[in-house]
């Protein structure tokens, strides 16, 4: 599978990355070679192998449902770029 320049632009948009038009082709080639590697692996017959969702052979530990965190808003907001009235402020988002 090979990616076209438009695919690269779309992926960059989804990831909110700015990519110079001048290097789009280069990215397309690099990403395509990665996909080629994946395709190569895809050719291995895995029909009797269960899909792996996590490399650790373990299951999730659970915690009890109780409140263990206290209010540390002041500390968190001290490192935020813009806060007011207890809210984090961001550029206007229109629905």
């Amino acid at each position: 599978m090979s990616l076209k320049p438009d695919d690269v632009r779309n992926i960059a948009q989804l990831a909110r990355l700015h990519i110079d038009e001048a290097v789009i082709d280069e990215y397309a080639a690099d990403l395509s070679s990665i996909l080629e590697l994946v395709e190569q692996m895809n050719r291995v017959d895995t029909s009797d192998v269960a899909p792996l969702s996590n490399p650790l052979d373990a299951t999730q530990r659970l915690r009890d449902d109780s409140v263990s965190e206290s209010d540390e808003r002041d500390k968190f907001q001290a490192i935020a770029p813009d806060v007011a009235d207890g809210l984090y402020r961001v550029p206007k988002v229109i629905e």
């Binding site: 996590n54 299951t59 449902d65 907001q77 007011a84 207890g86 961001v90 988002v93």
Partner: protein, 479 residues
């Protein structure tokens, strides 16, 4: 019958009633000061790891068992990737493959009393996002992350519904179920229970589905019905004018009573799900499932059957009493005070009490008349202390906080006159005053009896026992 058939499926987000969040130990209490319940995990700060809340898993299993669903023994979490300021990590932890609850079903009761099976495709766990505040600042939006990480169970139905009414019946059923199961408080205004509807239409008889739209922003059952009906009409108009339905998300605007298109963000639909490497698979054993099954409370269907079979209530009354958990609890509390009076208590709960609550806009859980007081009133009717008519006056007085039925009957002197001597005296006086009507009755005009009953009741100020009055009057008039 219209040549068009509508096809509706619902996605319901139920906030699970845990005390802490799905992946962190921050509180989920509603209404706190902004960002005071948003910890490092909820903020998506670097270096933190999610740890799954056991209560969330158990609540999901409760729901799964209650809808007779397949529960996956190995469930996995996935990242759903998108950018929005109220989602600080840049992804929502959700489930894609192997949701915790697989295929199940519920049955709904339609207006004509018929029942219908609705399939539940799946129910999966995910974290809620934060809230954006758009009207506080002129040039910026404010973000409150208290809600971020609140556990949600997203319940996805099959496209089995064919009208807005059926969709509402299904939504109410799920609402009732999560309340019975005590896994969600069901508060739609606060957003604890949210419905999105997928709506499409097709010509009757066709089997292919039409292009669907998704309706969001619906926060009451009434609006759900209206939004779906509007959307069906809009799609029919479009197709009949030769147009086509565009697959999109539409927001319901309750003030204008219309749906409108959200600005279409085409790329936003590419969520690039992948298994979350921070979370291991969740193992659920048969023992876990059986333990949850054994702890389930009596569910509405079971309660309804018991009300009919052992209490002798009508199917209609049992249906209405059990549809809402609080109504059922109220009825059962009243029944505990007067176990022999199931039928009259049911009638009072569904009749006068429901009417008064509805008029006052009060939920039954906040009723000014306690279950014990309502039972006390019903008992005084049953033992002939008061008539049904006087009971309405007593009911009103209990509502106003004047005490229980016995105290009010005593204070107002409302005790029914059952002493036949006293009633006969009243009857004699009425007969003496109305010789003309006596003649009419004796000439065969039976209807005049009603006039006499009315007069005697009036003389007794409503306190004479109507049955006795009737019998004694007949005897006297015939003499």
């Amino acid at each position: 019958m219209s040549e068009w058939e509508s096809v509706i499926g619902l996605e319901i987000h139920a906030q699970l009633a845990t005390t802490s969040k799905i992946f962190s130990g921050a509180s989920t209490a509603f209404g706190a000061e902004p960002n005071t319940q948003a910890c490092a995990v909820d903020l998506g700060l670097p270096g933190v790891l999610p740890v799954l809340n056991r209560g969330v898993v158990e609540m999901a299993i409760r729901f799964g068992v209650a809808i007779d669903a397949d529960i996956d023994h190995r469930s996995i979490f996935a990242r759903k990737n998108y950018f929005y300021p109220d989602l600080p990590k840049g992804y929502q932890i959700s489930q894609y493959e192997h949701p915790i609850v697989g295929r199940g079903h519920v049955s709904i009761t339609l207006d004509d009393g018929a029942t219908m099976e609705i399939g539940v495709t799946r129910a999966h766990l995910e974290e809620d996002a934060g809230k954006s505040v758009h009207d506080r600042f002129a040039e910026q939006s404010g973000i409150d992350l208290n809600r971020a990480g609140t556990p949600l169970l997203e319940i996805v139905s099959e496209p089995d519904m064919r009208s807005a009414k059926q969709a509402v019946a299904y939504a109410r059923k799920i609402h009732s179920l999560v309340r019975y199961l005590e896994i969600c408080d069901g508060n739609m205004q606060e957003g604890s229970f949210r419905c999105d509807a997928n709506v499409s239409i097709r010509r009757r008889g066709e089997s292919e589905l039409g292009t669907r739209t998704e309706l969001k922003n619906i926060n009451s059952f009434r609006f759900l019905e209206r939004a779906i009906n509007h959307e069906i009409e809009r799609q029919i108009d479009l197709l009949e004018d030769g147009g086509a339905v565009v697959q999109e998300t539409r927001l319901y605007d309750a003030d204008r009573d219309e749906t409108r298109s959200m600005r279409s963000k085409e790329e936003a639909n590419d969520y690039r799900y992948f298994p979350d490497p921070d979370l291991l698979p969740v193992a659920i054993t048969d023992d876990d499932i059986e333990r949850v099954r054994a702890s389930l409370p009596e569910l509405p269907e079971q309660k309804k059957t018991r009300f009919v079979d052992t209490l002798g209530l009508s199917a209609d009354n049992a249906e209405v009493l059990t549809a809402n958990r609080d109504t059922a609890l109220y009825f059962e509390a009243a029944l505990e005070a007067q176990p022999e009076l199931a039928a009259p208590i049911a009638n009072w709960v569904l009749g006068d009490l429901a009417g008064a609550l509805n008029k006052a806009g009060i939920e039954i859980g906040d009723s000014p008349i306690s279950p014990a007081r309502l039972a006390g009133l019903v008992a005084r009717i049953a033992d002939d202390t008061i008539s049904g008519k006087i009971a309405k006056e007593v009911f009103e007085a209990i509502w106003q906080g004047e005490g229980d039925a016995d105290a009010i009957i005593e204070a107002r002197g409302l005790k029914q006159i059952t002493d036949s001597g006293a009633i006969e005296a009243l009857i004699d006086a009425v007969i003496a005053d109305n010789p003309e009507q006596v003649e009419q009755f004796r000439a065969g005009k039976e209807k005049v009896l009603g006039f006499f009953v009315g007069q005697v009741m009036k003389q007794s100020q409503g306190k004479a026992n109507p049955g006795q009055v009737n019998a004694l009057l007949r005897d006297k008039l015939k003499a």
